[in-house]
Symmetry: C2
Subunit: 328 residues, 2 copies
C-alpha cells in the first residue's frame, strides 16, 4: 500500500535489497502482481504467519532472526512436500514507531530493523536460489506480524498420507535441539548452548534433501516436517488408523540437549519427543528401503495397534495423553 513518497522510498529500498533476476520472471516486483513462467512439474504453495508474543518474543528474536525464520518455516513446508522452492511473498505489519527512521528509546526498532529483516531473509533465500518477489508492508497498532507465502514446484508430491503398519519412521536430523535452544534463551544460558540457540533462532529448512527424495519418491510412503514435536507430528502421520513405537534408544539427540536435560533433571527423551520447531523431515518408508536413505535416523515404527509406545531397553511405556507418557 504505497501511497506516499516516503512509502515509495521504503519500497524502493526493500526492492533493492531483495530483487534478483530469476530467468523465469516475466513481470518483476513493483507491478500489481508478480508474473512468472511456469516451472516444470506441479505447483506447490504454502503460507504461514508468525505473531509477536504468540510465536516469538522480540526480547530474544532480532529482526534478522525473524526474517530468516518466517522464510525458513515456509520453505520447510515446501521441502516437506518434496518440492523445490522458487519464490516468496512476505507481508509485514510493524508498530508505527518502526516506520520512523529515528531510533526509539531502546535503539532497536528502526529502519535498520527493516534492513536486517530483509537482508537475513534474502541471505537464506539465496542459499536455495529463492527470490522474494512481493508482499506488503504496513503499520500495526501494537504487535509485529509477519506472513509469508512460498511458491515451489515438484515432479511428485510427497504427502503426509501413506504410512503403513510396519513402516519405519526416519528423521533427517536431531530432535529437541530447537526446544533446547528456546530453554537456553529463556534461562539466559545461550552461551552454553550455541548450536541449540542457533537452530532455534535460525532453523534450516531441509531443502537440501529434496533432490534425493524425488529420486527415490516411489519409496517415500509419507513425508512431513517436524514443527510440533515428534509425537504430535507422528500422530498426524498415523491418521488415527495406526499405532507407533518410538525407539527411545535410537533417537538422534544432540549433546547439548542431553546437557540441558541433565541440568533440568529430565530425560533427554522428554525434549526429543515433545520439543517443537526442529524443522527436520519425518519420513515413513518400508524397512527394506532403509539403505536408500543414508544419513537419516530411524526413530520408530508404525504398528496396527492404534497405540503409541516408547521402547527403551527392555521397557515399554504407553504414551497416553500426548503431553507425556506413563510407564507400566
Amino acid at each position: 500500500m504505497q501511497n506516499t513518497p516516503k512509502e515509495w522510498n521504503r519500497i524502493d529500498r526493500i526492492k533493492s535489497l531483495v530483487q534478483r533476476h530469476n530467468p523465469q520472471t516475466v513481470v518483476p516486483l513493483g507491478d500489481d502482481a508478480f508474473v512468472f513462467k511456469n516451472f516444470p512439474g506441479l505447483s506447490v504453495i504454502a503460507q504461514d504467519m508468525m505473531v509477536e508474543d504468540v510465536h516469538f518474543s522480540l526480547s530474544y528474536t532480532t529482526a534478522a532472526d525473524l526474517g530468516h525464520k518466517i522464510l525458513a518455516v515456509n520453505l520447510s513446508d515446501l521441502a516437506a512436500m518434496g518440492a523445490t522452492a522458487h519464490f516468496g511473498m512476505v507481508s509485514l505489519a510493524l508498530p508505527k514507531e518502526l516506520k520512523s527512521s529515528s531510533k526509539n528509546n531502546d535503539g532497536t526498532l528502526t529502519e535498520t530493523w527493516l534492513d536486517e529483516f530483509y537482508l537475513a531473509m534474502t541471505a537464506l533465500a539465496d542459499k536455495f536460489s529463492v527470490e522474494i518477489v512481493g508482499g506488503d508492508l504496513c503499520g500495526s497498532p501494537k504487535s509485529v506480524v509477519v506472513d509469508l507465502s512460498a511458491y515451489g514446484s515438484c515432479e511428485k508430491p510427497l504427502t503426509r498420507a501413506g504410512a503403513k503398519s510396519g513402516d519405519l519412521l526416519l528423521s533427517s536430523g536431531p530432535l529437541g535441539l530447537s526446544h533446547t535452544g528456546l530453554l537456553a534463551l529463556q534461562k539466559n544460558m545461550s552461551e552454553l548452548f550455541p548450536e541449540s540457540v542457533l537452530r532455534h533462532k535460525r532453523p534450516m529448512p531441509r531443502l537440501d534433501l529434496v533432490e534425493h527424495l524425488q529420486l527415490h519418491a516411489d519409496k517415500v510412503h509419507a513425508l512431513m516436517d517436524c514443527s510440533d514435536g515428534l509425537i504430535n507430528d507422528t500422530l498426524i502421520l498415523t491418521r488415527g488408523e495406526l499405532g507407533f513405537n518410538v525407539f527411545g534408544d535410537r533417537l538422534p539427540i544432540h549433546a547439548e540437549t542431553v546437557e540441558m536435560a541433565t541440568s533440568l533433571n529430565q530425560s533427554p527423551l522428554e525434549l526429543a519427543l515433545w520439543g517443537g520447531e526442529d524443522y527436520q523431515l519425518l519420513m515413513a518408508i518400508a524397512p527394506e528401503d532403509l539403505p536408500s536413505f543414508p544419513g537419516w535416523h530411524v526413530v520408530g515404527q508404525f504398528t496396527d495397534s492404534k497405540d503409541f509406545y516408547l521402547l527403551q531397553g527392555d521397557l515399554k511405556a504407553k504414551i497416553t495423553s500426548f503431553k507425556g507418557w506413563s510407564h507400566f
Copy 2:
C-alpha cells in the same frame, strides 16, 4: 499451526467451509502445502495485508466484510494484471478472546465470527471460481491482522508500464464511490448512501473484465487497479515521464457521491480525484482504440508535460501537491 485437538476441530470446520474440488488440485488443503497442476499461460501472484485500526475498524467492519474485502483487494490485483484468478491462501491473526466459542461482552467476537469471515470470503471466491486452499490461523495479542496471497494465470500480463503521451486513460467504473461510503459510515449516514457503503465494505474486483482485456491485450498500453485514488494511481502510470490532463467534466461520478459532496460543501471532483479503494481498473489506450472498450469511461489523457492539470469547462487547474490542486 495445528497442535491441539481443539485447533484440529477448528481447522476441520474451516476446511469444510472453504474446500471445493478444483480439477487442477493434486494435493488439497490439509497437507504441508497445496499442490496443483499448472494452468495454461503464465503464473501471477499477489499478496496484500489488512490490519485492524490501520486499514479497517471493527466498529464498522464485520467479519463478513473483512473476509470479503481481503480477498477482493487481492483478486483486484490479479484483474489489474489481466489475469484469471484460481486460488487464495489466507492467514488470520485473531485476539485470543476470538478463539473461544463463548461470546464476549459485545457478543461479536465468537466462533461465529470465524464462520462469517470464511463464508463471506468463499461467497466472493465462488463468484469467480476461486478456491481458498490454505493459509494459517493464529492468536494475536491485540489486533486482527489478515493477509492473503492470490494465485492466478494469464496469457499476456497487462502491466503498469507503457502509457504514452496522447493515450487516453479509462476507468472501468465510478470513482470516489468507496470514499463516499467511508464518509457515510463515519458520519452514521449509511442508510442515505447504500450503494457507496456497499462498495466501500464489499468492493468488487473487476475480474469480469479480464476476458475482454485479454482479447484486446495488444491495445492495452497500461493497466492497474485504482486503490489509492485516481490522481495518486495515475501518477504511478506516468512513471515520472509523462503529464496528465484530468477531464473533470467527464469523470464517472455516482449520484451518491454528488450528494455527499453537496452535504460537505465540496466539489464532487474532490471525492472522485482523491478518494481511494474503488478497485476499478484504470487503463491507458491509444485514442483510436476507444471503440474496442465499450462501457469504460474516459477520465483523462497523458501528455508530455510532466505536469498534472484538471480541465473543467474552460478552466485549467494545475495539480501541484498531489493532495489538492490550485486554480490559476
